[in-house]
Amino acid sequence: MPAPTPYNEMHAAEGGVRNHYQAFDKWLASTSTEWLAQKRAEADMLFHRVGITFAVYGEDAGSERLIPFDVVPRIIPADEWRKLAAGLKQRVRALNAFTEDIYHDQNILKAGHIPAEQVLQNSQYRPEMQGVDVPNGIYAHIAGVDIVRAGAGEFYVLEDNLRVPSGVSYMLEDRRMMMRLFPELFAHYPIAPVEHYPDLLLDNLRSVPPAGVNDPTVVVLTPGSYNSAYFEHAFLAQQMGVELVEGQDLFVNDGFVYMRTTRGPKRVDVIYRRIDDDFLDPLAFRPDSMLGVPGLLSAYRAGHVTIANAIGTGVADDKSIYPYVPDMIRFYLSEEPLLNNVPTYMLRKEEDLKYTLAHLHELVVKEVHGAGGYGMLIGPSASKEQIATFRERIIAEPAKYIAQPTLALSACPTFVESGIAPRHIDLRPFVLSGKEVTLVPGGLTRVALREGSLVVNSSQGGGTKDTWVLER
């Protein structure tokens, strides 16, 4: 089965330019390839100077790479965004309700909507969190929901990232870069601003302090300057005007968390952590972790500090739980889901396994706990050998995998070696949950720069684009 024709964001099937891209198309026609190349080089130079880079291990000391930035924006019309935004808020509300339920009464399990062992035996389920109350019942304060658009232009949620979703700094820096390189374009389009994201984030974090704290001290917890997302951690801390701390800067005393300052210990109330659960507290999780803070979990369980996102959110964004999100929306909100889930085969089920093994060449198979585009089989583009190897791995441990039909991710014109050519893209908007659920109109558009590739992850040759949500 050949992959269906992808939806092109700019050009309609009949060959015409879609309405919302017409002004851009005219502008593009007035530019030359050389000039665009020069602008792109200018962007690279600026990204290097600002240090929006990540260190690459094992290469020449001091060498750093950029995530490629594409000069062609991804444009989303106002009415499409309205639908997306409503669906995203609905989804994140349900996911938070689900997490709270799982760590308290487990009504959804009792009602039989999800098999209990699916949740309770999941490695992402944290028994330490059972019965722990968190401020406002919010677990995923920051959610990055990956959305793709398939053949007919309909949106699907590909996955919910509820642990430490990253990429928001690229949403902001890509916008800044576009405004610097092509200010004239912004006169042609009513582009919704995204620059206030750090303010919203700070408001959001300050709205969930531990009980009894009115003016909370917020910090961003980073694994350190060698982490590939370090730029983003430093950027967000700076933009919010809060301290960027490492595990070694914090300590727990009498059940409270403090940071070490030049004037002695200072209490910390809200930690926006960019470290995985496993590394947060060597006393509770991985004992070899040098990144965490000994005793943090006990301070957290005592309600003396807020951790965002909460410990244990992985139970709600696991790929084996993903198929149940529409049921969660119906169960907790009594609403019909506004966004589509991709139909998913759960290979622990015998019939799904049987179907998948018979159709490996047309399906995408993913590891349940995988991330970053690793541990994945893309049937239509895989070789016979790759399929055969994967088949063995699936048969050995079927519960480790899910399978989905290969979606023809939409394509957006992109400036590549050969000039302007279509490349596949996805979208990651960032949804904030505190006193209310908010999001800025936009997100991170990732693009698979290799021709035909469906993998947009930056670790595997993906780039980014500025995302324009139109206000009208």
């Binding site: 600002v50 030049t262 002695g264």
Partner: protein
């Protein structure tokens, strides 16, 4: 502010200042090498430069002989030498990167650009006549970094820790530059006033941007005694030890905490002895001995600053 943040800012400033002063020291050596003199004098001068920077041992591990080209390469571009200009600028940038959120974006971008260009400079500059341009460039980037910090940073603790690092390093470096040259030049006898001596002393003064200042202050012949007085005791000379210590004392007072009283007192004591000191008694004691003692007291102050402010301390 976080102790770790203060630590990074302090070292960022120290390494930036150190890179500049190494460039100054190498520049004066290079300028002197253009004067007619014997090869042994040249070698002596490079050995002195390496020794005063505590680098002789590290140098000898890599090279058998001391030649101007090898010594220059070692101190300017060698990545294995932690005190080379290359390594200092790398360290300044790594420290800045660790606190980029505390710096203004202009300050961070200045330090980062310096580092990006330093990486290119390794292949751009030859060790010949062009090397003077490289030293100019290092000084220029250092001026720019300080200027951006001065012009954009909030006058908070971060600012004081940055300048504390700058002045403590400069106090140390000026003492070293003076020691190495004075040592070499003095045996020729005070006020000998030969043509070569004149160029040697003026090169030393130029290396700390003090030639014109000397003319303004003394309006007279260049003598070793006055050079020492200018670089040690003159308050309004921006690179003098006196000036540096008065700044160190001032910034220390601004960041005082509950355990830093003794550190502040020692800085004040050093400042006072420079404020009221006389060049005659210093020369009587022996300039070299005086400078060695001064360097030890600077090192002691550095350690105390680390303990009082920078090392993450347990709860008390």
């Amino acid at each position: 502010m976080l102790s770790r943040t203060a630590d990074h800012l302090y070292w960022m400033a120290r390494y930036t200042e150190r890179a500049e002063n190494i460039a100054r020291m190498l520049d004066v050596n290079y300028q002197m090498s253009l004067l007619p003199q014997g090869g042994d004098v040249m070698e002596q001068s490079w050995i002195a430069t390496l020794s005063i920077s505590d680098l002789m041992e590290a140098y000898q591990k890599k090279h058998d002989t001391v030649t101007p080209a090898k010594a220059l390469a070692f101190m300017a571009f060698d990545r294995d030498n932690p005190s080379s200009i290359y390594s200092c600028l790398a360290a300044a940038r790594e420290n800045a990167r660790a606190v980029r959120g505390t710096l203004t974006s202009e300050a961070w971008e200045t330090l980062n650009s310096t580092w990006i260009d330093m990486r290119k400079a390794v292949t751009r500059y030859s060790l010949g006549a062009e090397i003077a341009d490289f030293f100019e460039w290092v000084k220029y980037r250092s001026h720019l970094t300080r200027g951006v910090i001065q012009g954009t940073m909030l006058r908070d603790e971060a600012y004081h820790f940055t300048w504390l690092g700058t002045y403590l390093e400069r106090a140390d470096n000026t003492a070293r530059i003076l020691d190495v040259k004075y040592h070499l030049l003095l045996p020729r006898g005070e006020g000998a006033g030969g043509v070569v001596d004149y160029y040697q002393w003026s090169a030393l003064l130029r290396s700390v941007s003090a030639f014109a200042i000397y003319r303004k202050v003394y309006r007279d012949l260049i003598t070793p005694r006055r050079v020492a007085e200018l670089l040690i005791l003159t308050d309004d000379m921006p690179r003098s030890m006196h000036r540096c210590m008065s700044q160190v004392y001032m910034h220390l007072k601004a960041i005082a905490n509950s355990q830093s009283a003794e550190t502040e007192r020692r800085a004040g004591e050093m400042h006072a002895s420079l404020l009221f000191g006389r060049i005659d008694s210093i020369l009587e004691m022996g300039l070299h001995e005086y400078l060695v003692e001064f360097l030890a007291r600077v090192a002691d102050l550095g350690e105390r600053i680390s303990q009082d402010f920078l090392v993450p301390s347990p709860i008390r």
